[in-house]
Each structure stands twice: as C-alpha cells, then as structure tokens.
Amino acid sequence: MIILDAILQGILMGLLFALVALGLTIIFGVMDIVNFAHGEFLMIGMFTSYWTSLLLHVDPLVTLPASAIVGMLLGLASYYWLVRYLLRGPMIAQLFGTFGLMLFLRYLAQFLFGTDYRIVQKGLVVGKSLSLGPFIFDLTKLSAAVLSLLAFLFVYYLLHRTKLGKALRATALNKEAAAYMGIRTDRMNALAWAIGGGTVGIAGGLLVNFWYVYPTVGLLFVMIAFASVALGGFGSIQGAFFAGILIGMIEMLFPMFGHLIGSDFLGPHFKFTIVYFAYFLIVVLRPQGLFGWKR
C-alpha cells in the first residue's frame, strides 16, 4: 500500500516534471539548442505567480495566465535578442550563450528579490488535502498535476491538430524543406521559444503553491527536465510526457526503497542524485531515449 501511495504521489509530481520538460524538448526538437536557462524560466514563472498573488490579493491559481504570458515574453525576448545570434556560432557558443542567460536571470532575480526562501502562505488549495480511500493527496499537488495534464494536452493538440503545429513539426523535421514549402522557419523558432517559455511559466505558477521559491531553484528542475528529455528522447513530446512521469515515480520510490531495506545511504538525500545518475545511464545506454528520433 505504501508503495502504491508512493507511485501515485510520483505520478502527480511527474505530470509537473513532464510539463517542465515539454518546453525543453520542443525547443531542442525545432532548433537543436539545449536551453540551460529553462530552469530559470521556471523560477521567473514562480516569482511572477508569487508576486501577483501577493500584491493583487488573488489566489495563486488565478495568476497562471500572468505566469504563462511572462514566460512567453521571456521566451520570445531570449530568442530575438540572444538565441538568433547564437545560431550562427558553433555548438559551444550556443551552450555558453544559454548558460549566460541562465546566470543572468538567476542573479537578476537575486538582485530584485534577494536570496530569501519564500512560499505562498494562503490560497484556495494551499495546505489542504483530499483523502480518497486510504490515500491522502495534497490538494496543491493534485491541482498542479491536473492542470499540468491539461496544459500538456493543449500543447499536444496545438502541435498535432492545427496547421500552425504542423508547420512547427515540419520545421523540426527538416528546416530547409520546410522553408521551401513557404514556412517561415524564423517565426517557427520564435514560436517554439514562446511555447517553451509559456508552458514552463505555467509549471512555475503551479509549483509555487507547494515549493519554496528562491533564485537558484531552477538548477534542480532543469536537471530533472534534462533527465526526462533524455529518457524520452530529445525532441519527442510523447517521450517527455512518459519520461516525466517515470522520473517522478523514481524520485518518490527511491527513498522508499532505501527505507524498506533499512539503508541510510539510499536515503532521501539522494533522491535527486539518482535523477542525475539516471540521466548518465540513459544517455550512455540508450542515447535515442524511449521515443527519440534525433541523435
């Protein structure tokens, strides 16, 4: 029973991880760039939600559109002011470019808000829980999971059922061929960054309900997102979804496993270490991931 509970909790967390990984995988799929600043986008989304709910006295869940818009604008600004120029350079310059963006956003947040750990004190779902039979769910996590799922499905619909999404996927498959077909690939790149920023902004808005927000929160989540994306296959959207859930389950089950066999060394301190280790094993053993099509 305790294991089943851990699995369910893991799935709830995993849906959020999947939403974080979604933006990363879309950006990678469309333009072969790894966005190191992705975790910082999440952090900005969290801060946006935090401050709007605090200053306007509204529930953090209501502020989700604000986080989404800020995330999208951030994505667009990053694309037009930085990434466009990075594309001309070699891969190492691209890596350092987005890395510089990551540091910049992190220290901008530190400059503006200080290094304090902040958490949302009151809200519609904060601190409440729902008991379904023997299982007790935090309402914050449950709502985050459901809304993440909805956001994920919306983006999936956008990509697979609309003309715009088709154009985006065509750009990802073959940039030149897409350009010949009259698709403005430059705009598709921008769209990928807007979707990536928007989804991760929403994820930040959801996360702020039950997670401390501080300027360096991004690193942990960007590493989790890297692991999810690697497991699912770089560029794969279904992959990111299932891998996110799987990583969520690993992260919950691992401390449980250590607890059951009575080993201190496999304790909860290492629940994120195992994520890094998982990334390493996945990319070494199966570089294309579960559903990957880019190598």
Partner: protein, 332 residues
C-alpha cells in the same frame, strides 16, 4: 630530450607574442616586491590558479572541442585527497598530491570510458551530471566531513613539506611554479601527436577515424590530462584555503567558470586560458568587492559578468584571442 626541447621552444610564435610573454614572466617574478596590498596579491593567486585550470580544460575542451562542464569534480578530488591525507595520516603535500593526481586520472578513465560514447549536448549535460553526483555524495558522506567540509591542521609557518605558509608571497611563488610547469607542458602538448590528433578530431571526427585515429581513446587521454591539471589546482586550493567543503571545491559554478575562462579567452590557443583568466578573475573579484559589498546590490556583479558571456558567445565565439587575431590580420 626532444620533449624538453619542444616544451621550451616558442619559436613558432610571432615576435610580439614572445616579447609579451617574456615581459609577463618578468612581471610575475617581481610582482611580490611591487608593494601591492594583500587583496591584489590574492587576486593574482586566483588568476594563476584559474589559468592553470583553464589550461587543463583547454586540452579536452579547446583542442579536443568537447564541451566539458564537469571539471569541478576533479578539483574536488585533488583537494580532498590532499586534505584528508593530511588530516588522517599527516602525509605531506608532496606525497598526497601525486596520489591525488593518480586518483583523479584513474577516476577520469572510469568516467571517461562511458562518457565519450556521447557527443555534443548529450556529452555536455552528462559531464554536469557526473559532477553533481559526486558533489551530492560528498555532501552526504559523513566520513569526509559531509556538508561541513574539513579544516586542515595548521602547521608552524612556513612549512615546505606541508606547503603551508603565513604570507601570500610564498603561495604566490608556489602557484607561479605550477603555472609555468603547466604552460611548458601545454607548449609541448600542442605540438605532440595527441595534440594534432585532437585537432583533427575536432575538425572532422569521421575523417580522423578513417585515418586510423581512435577518436574515443584520444579524447579519454586528453580528458585524463585535463583532470590531472585540475587536480593539481585542487590540491593547491586545499593548502591555500586550509578549509574545503563540497560547495567551494565541487560546485557547478566552478566547473562553469573554468570552462568559461578558457572559452572567453579563446579555446584551442596557447594564451587563451591565460587571457580569459586575466580578464575574468579581476573582473569577478573587483566587481564582487565593489558592488557585492554594498547592501541591496547582491547579484549585480554576476549580472554584468553573465551579460558579457552572452555578448561574447553571440558575437565572437572564438573569444578575446579571436578578436585580437582579427585586429592583427587587419593591420598586417
């Protein structure tokens, strides 16, 4: 013998470069007598240390073209080996340092073997992961002091066996000797067989393999050389600070700084890492002490720093050295 001649042979550099290098060497030799304050001296020590790190990174990252972002784990291995051996068994620096290098090189082979199956982004992120895993282990490992870190026992000053001194001047000359050793090694390395092989792999890996170069093995060798360099710097850091913890010697920020300095100065060039360190270390320190000290301005120094990184990566990926060469070519 030939190796030694190669290491001290700077004839293939232009005359300006040789003159600047000579002046720079003289400056380093007389620097402690210039009567500068202790802050400037500390900055100079940091500069030489990061040049050493950067030279190490340059073997795999510059000449080999592999984006390696996990060098901090080897700084940690070097520092922890020296510190722990001193604390547990009172082993002198000159014994523990080679052991530290051996451990770092051995570990780099174990890690490097699977790591170099990967390329590009996958490789870069995987190096970060290995470094973070090791840091997490050290943070939670009670035997080695866990998150609290370890303090080195303080000796009667000055102690040339344990390399502990009261004055920064001693430390300065110590790191300067290491710096020049590294520099001469790099001068040999860039003309060695491995150096040429690496550059070929960087340009076109498939062509290199078709000429019979074992690309993966070459990269592993370069990676272990880089690790040895960085471990020496780590050992120095342990006896210089007399205190280490996983956050100061194994942090991701350190890995990034190492790669960044070499990258900003100009990868795959002899002077790149030195220029990068000469530029970034003082910038970091002075901005930090000027802005970081003032209340309400936390983080502004890093914002300027990271904005610079973005501008350089967007406009001149070949770094400051690339800009200088551009100017020279225009002038000539």
């Amino acid at each position: 013998m030939e190796t030694l001649r190669d290491a001290f042979d700077f004839r293939d550099f232009s005359r300006i470069e040789r003159i600047v290098f000579l002046l720079f060497s003289v400056f380093l030799l007389v620097f402690p007598w210039l009567g500068t304050g202790s802050f400037v001296k500390a900055v100079m020590i940091q500069f030489l240390l990061f040049s050493l790190f950067g030279m190490g990174w340059n073997t795999i990252g510059g000449y080999g073209g592999q984006v390696e972002l996990g060098k901090a784990q080897y700084v940690g291995i070097g520092a922890y080996t020296v510190a722990l051996m001193m604390v547990w068994w009172r082993i002198p620096f000159w014994v523990s340092m080679p052991i530290g290098i051996l451990i770092a090189v051995g570990y780099s082979f174990i890690i490097g073997y699977p790591l170099f199956r990967l390329k590009g982004h996958y490789f870069a992120i995987a190096t970060i992961c290995t470094s973070l895993v090791l840091q997490d282990i050290f943070i939670n490992w009670k035997l080695v002091g866990a998150a609290k870190g370890i303090e080195l026992p303080i000796h009667e000053h000055p102690d040339f066996l344990y390399m502990q001194f009261k004055s920064d001047t001693h430390y300065f000359y110590f790191i300067m000797v290491l710096f020049f050793a590294g520099l001469f090694y790099m001068n040999w390395f860039r003309k060695s067989k491995l150096g040429y092989q690496l550059r070929m792999i960087k340009d076109d890996e498939e062509a290199a393999e078709s000429l019979g170069i074992d690309a993966r093995w070459c990269k592993i060798k370069a990676y272990s050389i880089a690790s040895a360099f960085v471990a020496v710097g780590g050992g120095f850091l342990a006896v210089y600070n007399l205190y280490i913890d996983p956050y100061s010697v194994m942090d991701l920020d350190l890995s990034i700084k190492i790669a960044l300095m070499a990258m900003l100065g100009g990868p795959a060039s002899m002077w790149g890492p030195i220029i990068g360190a000469a530029f970034l270390v003082p910038l970091d320190r002075f901005l930090g002490s000027w802005l970081g000290g003032q209340r309400g301005l936390i983080g502004l120094d890093f914002m300027i720093y990271s904005a610079l990184i973005m501008v350089v990566s967007a406009y001149q990926p070949r770094g400051i050295w690339g800009i200088l060469e551009q100017f020279r070519r225009k002038g000539a």
